[in-house]
Structure formats: structure tokens, C-alpha cells
């Protein structure tokens, strides 16, 4: 893969306000998400992470400010134009009843299809490739609603891959998965970045995983930017205290050397353990 400057596939927000009705969820956000990198968005529950992803993917119009992709305002693009460049996996996608894995993944080709054009060999190739990359080829004729959580998540990622976009936004792709399947999904994301050069922006809960798998980290608190930068520069005890209200130590991950958050033992648990 040829190296690209990080200004290609770069998402930027300027003074972005996102609202649901009267409620300001994201306020005054100035953010640059580097192209060609894996970015993790972290923050406490209800801090606006998912809302931000919806704003970045044109599902939610800004109340104020702009979102640009390589300099052009995404809310001035047509939905299809953006869908050719940016794919999104929502937090809890709706699986149509009894749909098979392949039928699901085929829907990822929607932005590439013209109204009357038949299914093309390029479409089929993209679907086969997406199934292959996510390890779901053998499951292609299985109904998605009968798969395990990890398999289902891979099928949904395959849909986003079949869309064949340079940018991929994933909203908590590891939630509800056990550790093995969490790591599978994150390794898959890392491989997509390393082998296929995709730009990935994902919302994660586990700070250690975010530090391991992301090149860039965005920390939100109450809809505002608390910190952004390389995980090693951003993640320290002070930040975790101020954003999550958790006393902790941050030590180098013994495996990877990336920051690892170790919460301090609470007095109750500690005394129980030593008693």
C-alpha cells in the first residue's frame, strides 16, 4: 500500500454543535481526525460519542459549525457521494428478519448501484472480498439472527467493507462481545488499516484497548473535547480522573508499552481482600 499524507480522508469539525431537539449534546467541537490512521473516541457514557459519529456521517445535521471531509462540507454533498467515501457501523444495527449473511453484505453495495443496473461482477467481487476479510465466507448462507454475537458483528463489518469506502466509522464495535471476540474485531480493524489502508474512527469503552489499537485518541467529556493526540501523550492519571472521575495509575502495557489504566483499589474492596 502506498503511504498517503494524513490530510487525505481527513475529517474535521469546526465549532460543531449537535443537538437533539433542545438538548445540546456536542458543543463547540474543533476536531481533526487524521486520515490514514486509526482514531479511537473515548469518554464517559452519554458524553456525545455516538452523536459525534452521527454528525460525522451526515446522519445528524449540525445546529452550528461544519463537518468537512478533505475540505468539503459533508452536509453539502449528496448522501450517495458521501456513502462512497465513508461507511458507518451503528452501535446496535437492525438485522432484518431471517436475512442471510450474504444478502446482508450485498446491501453494502447500495451506493455503488444505479437504479436499474443489475448486480455487477464488481459488486460480487466486493462482497466476496468483504466476506473473506471478515472470515464469514463459510457463513454466507446462514441467517444473521442465528449467529453468535461475534459472528454477527463480523457480518455487519463485512457489510461496511462491501461498501468499499476509504473511511470507516465504527460505533462501539466491541460492545456485548466477550474478550476473544473483542480482540478478533479489533485485530480485524487493525488489519483493515494496515493491509487495506482504511482510515478508521471507532468509539471504544476500554481505554487500554483504545491505546493499543489507535494511533490517535479523542477524549470527550460532556460533549466537549477533553484531549486529543497520540494515546501515549494523552492518556495519564490526571486525565482519567478529570474525565471519568476515577483514581488510577497509568502504567505501560507490559505487552505493548502503550498506556494501561489501573484503577486504584477502593477502600471497601481493599479491606475485604486483606481481611
Amino acid at each position: 500500500m502506498t503511504a498517503r499524507p494524513d490530510t487525505v480522508n481527513q475529517l474535521r469539525t469546526e465549532a460543531l454543535d449537535l443537538r437533539y431537539g433542545d438538548r445540546l449534546v456536542v458543543g463547540g467541537l474543533d476536531l481533526t481526525l487524521p486520515g490514514g490512521a486509526v482514531t479511537a473516541i473515548v469518554g464517559p457514557n452519554a458524553c456525545g460519542k455516538s452523536t459525534l459519529l452521527r454528525g460525522l456521517s451526515r446522519l445528524l445535521s449540525p445546529a452550528a459549525g461544519t463537518v468537512t471531509l478533505d475540505g468539503s462540507d459533508i452536509h453539502r454533498m449528496s448522501a450517495k457521494t458521501l456513502a462512497l467515501r465513508l461507511g458507518l457501523l451503528p452501535q446496535q444495527p437492525v438485522t432484518p428478519e431471517a436475512i442471510t449473511v450474504e444478502a446482508l453484505v450485498r446491501l453494502g453495495r447500495y451506493p455503488h448501484q444505479r437504479l436499474l443496473a443489475p448486480w455487477s461482477t464488481a459488486d460480487q467481487r466486493a462482497v466476496d472480498d468483504a466476506l473473506e476479510r471478515t472470515g464469514t465466507t463459510a457463513l454466507r448462507d446462514q441467517p444473521v439472527d442465528r449467529l453468535s454475537g461475534g459472528q454477527r458483528q463480523r457480518a455487519w463489518i463485512a457489510l461496511a467493507l462491501a461498501q468499499d469506502t476509504e473511511l470507516l466509522l465504527l460505533d462501539e464495535p466491541t460492545t456485548f462481545l466477550d474478550l476473544r471476540h473483542q480482540l478478533d474485531v479489533l485485530d480485524l480493524v487493525a488489519a483493515l488499516h494496515a493491509e487495506a489502508g482504511r482510515t478508521v474512527v471507532m468509539v471504544l469503552h476500554d481505554l487500554g484497548q483504545a491505546a493499543r489499537y489507535a494511533d490517535h485518541m479523542v477524549v470527550l467529556k460532556d460533549g466537549r473535547l477533553a484531549a486529543a493526540g497520540a494515546p501515549a501523550d494523552v492518556l495519564d492519571a490526571e486525565l482519567v480522573k478529570s474525565v471519568f472521575d476515577v483514581d488510577c495509575r497509568v502504567i505501560p502495557d507490559p505487552e505493548t508499552g502503550t498506556p494501561l489504566v489501573i484503577p486504584r483499589g477502593s477502600a471497601v474492596r481493599h479491606s475485604a481482600a486483606t481481611a
Partner: protein
């Protein structure tokens, strides 16, 4: 490698099985349709062999036979086929659009609007030929009403359903009011119309509604891809570049056109639009573009069969076909409700 090859073989055989099943259902449906059609053309007060009926259909043979087949039996049978196909496809589209197994044109205010349109024209003493046009206009207007009410919510699913129910209730009340205020002789024909009947249809009506129906069915098939993407929920659909509100309105509109055309031909026939999607799902599994076409075939078979039951099997003379479908519909709804006691469909607004 061998296990991968094995998988490839089992998966392809699963797909072939499904394809075979769809093919089998389609051919059974077509055979049933032709069998019912020949029954419809040959039986009646003047029985005749199938060959004679077919020759009479194209204008050959005894002038009496030609008159009976060309002017009475054939238009009635084809009206049932066209209306049934429209109702079947409209029901499929609506149930998927609303993610609700009980959605049908009756719930959307379409049948109420069609009835009001037709009954007002009957009240005004308009000629028989204008009444289908009134029904069509009434159905479309009710959809417009629904759209206006529901638009502000960004066309959210629950709101559409509730608004549709309200619109339907209001229109049904208006129809009842008109019928109550009618002179007795008009009230009879208005009541007959609001039960749903294909009796006395003319070729003009069948060709007019049939042509429009074919066009609407073609549009529905073209829009099927959007329907499939909408099944993914609004966020995924939006991220795939579908403008969900517009797509939902387009699909709603074609479904309303299909149901209104059916109502224009056969009156507000109940049950067909409700039952066909369930029958097709039972026969061929998850919905596809092919199963949408199959729904049209199933609807046609169902309505034609019901009309034959009305004409030849029931001891009472001159019952409208809507009476049979409504009688089938009540127990069907109960069965559905019992089966729905465990939620099958997840609803997302």
C-alpha cells in the same frame, strides 16, 4: 482446503434448494391461476367446456357464449386478478415499511379514502363509470392526508401507523354518516360497494386499472432495493446513502397507488393485503424482489378463488367477494395475534 470446498458445496446446495422452492411456488401459483381462470370462464348458469370458453374469449363460436364470456365472466375474473395482485404487493410493501405484520391498506386510511370517494360519488348520483375514479382519488387523497400529518415527525414509523389509524377511523365514520343519510335504494348499492365486489366490471375498468397496476408494480420492483436497505434501520440506511424519508415516502406512495387501484376495481376488499405477505413468507422465507412478485401472484390467486367461492359455492346469491375475504380475515387475525404473543418483529422508530 477440503473443508472450505465442503462448505462451498453445502452453501451452494442451500441456495439451490431455496431457488427450487421459489420456482416450485411460482409454477404452482401460475398453474392455480390458470386453473381458476378456466373455472371462472367456463362455469356459471351457462356451463361450457374450456375450449369453447377460450374460443369465446377471443370472439369465436356461438354469439351467446361470446357475450357471456367476453362481457361478463372475463372482465370479472381479470378484475379479481388485477386487484388481488395489487393488494398482495401493497400488503408486502406496507408490512416491511412499517415493520409490522398487521400493516395493510385498511390501517393506512387507503381503503377508507377509497370508500369515501366512491360513496360520495354514488351519493351525488354520478354514473357507474366514474365511481372507480372516485375510489382511486379518495385513496390517494387519504394518503396525502396521512403524509401531511406524519411529515413533521420525519416520517417515523410509529407515528405513521397511529396517524394512519386515525385517518382510517375518521374516513370510515364519514362513509357511515353518508350511508345513513342516503335514500334507501342508494344506501344498498353504497353498502355493496363498501364490502368489496368485482361483480359487473367492464373491460374499460379492467384495462384502465390493469395498465396502471402493471406500471405501479414495475415501479415497486425497481424500488425494492430501497426497501431492502430501509430494513437495516435509519442509521445504516442513511450511511449507505439512502435518504430514508424520501425513500419511505416513495414506497408508501406506490403501495397506496397499488391499493387504491385495487379498491377502484374491487372496492375495499379486506384480508388479501394482510394475509398475502404471511403466506409468501411461509412459502419462501425472507422477503426478496422475487417474493414480491410472488406476492402479486398469490394475491391474484386468493382473490380470484374467493370470488369463485362467492359465485359458485355459496348457497346465497349475489354476495360480494369482500364478504368471503372478510370472513376469512377475522380468524386469520386471531391466529396472527396468538402467534405474535411472542414478539417476532423488533420495532424501531
Amino acid at each position: 482446503m477440503t473443508s472450505a470446498a465442503l462448505f462451498a458445496r453445502t452453501t451452494s446446495s442451500a441456495r439451490i434448494r431455496l431457488r427450487r422452492r421459489v420456482l416450485l411456488c411460482a409454477s404452482c401459483g401460475l398453474v392455480a391461476l390458470f386453473a381458476l381462470l378456466s373455472v371462472a370462464l367456463t362455469t356459471g348458469e351457462m356451463g361450457m367446456p374450456a375450449g369453447t370458453a377460450l374460443r369465446a374469449l377471443v370472439g369465436l363460436g356461438d354469439p351467446g357464449d361470446v357475450l357471456v364470456v367476453q362481457q361478463f365472466r372475463a372482465p370479472r375474473a381479470f378484475a379479481a386478478i388485477v386487484a388481488g395482485a395489487g393488494l398482495g404487493v401493497a400488503g408486502c410493501v406496507l408490512q416491511r415499511l412499517f415493520r409490522n405484520p398487521l400493516a395493510s391498506p385498511d390501517v393506512m386510511g387507503v381503503t377508507g379514502g377509497a370508500s369515501l370517494g366512491a360513496v360520495s360519488l354514488i351519493a351525488a348520483g354520478a354514473s357507474q363509470t366514474l365511481i372507480p375514479v372516485g375510489a382511486l382519488a379518495g385513496g390517494l387523497l387519504s394518503a396525502l392526508l396521512l403524509g401531511v400529518f406524519a411529515w413533521r415527525s420525519g416520517v417515523a414509523v410509529t407515528r405513521l401507523v397511529l396517524t394512519g389509524l386515525a385517518v382510517q377511523a375518521g374516513l370510515a365514520a364519514a362513509v357511515n354518516l353518508l350511508i345513513v343519510r342516503f335514500p334507501a335504494e342508494l344506501a344498498g348499492s353504497a353498502l355493496q360497494w363498501t364490502t368489496g365486489s368485482v361483480y359487473g366490471r367492464t373491460w374499460t375498468e379492467v384495462w384502465g386499472a390493469g395498465g396502471a397496476m402493471v406500471a405501479a408494480l414495475a415501479v415497486t420492483l425497481v424500488l425494492h432495493r430501497r426497501l431492502a436497505v430501509l430494513d437495516l434501520g435509519d442509521d445504516s440506511a442513511g450511511a449507505l446513502g439512502l435518504s430514508t424519508s424520501a425513500a419511505r415516502l416513495q414506497l408508501l406512495f406506490v403501495a397506496v397507488v397499488l391499493a387504491s387501484l385495487a379498491a377502484a376495481l374491487a372496492g375495499p376488499v379486506t384480508f388479501v393485503a394482510l394475509a398475502v405477505p404471511h403466506i409468501v413468507r411461509f412459502l419462501t422465507g425472507p422477503p426478496t424482489a422475487v417474493s414480491l412478485a410472488l406476492a402479486g401472484l398469490t394475491g391474484a390467486v386468493l382473490l380470484l378463488a374467493s370470488d369463485l367461492v362467492v359465485q359458485h359455492l355459496l348457497p346465497v346469491e349475489g354476495l360480494p367477494v369482500g364478504a368471503v375475504t372478510a370472513t376469512l380475515g377475522a380468524p386469520w387475525l386471531l391466529v396472527l395475534m396468538f402467534r405474535q404473543s411472542k414478539p417476532v418483529h423488533r420495532s424501531h422508530a
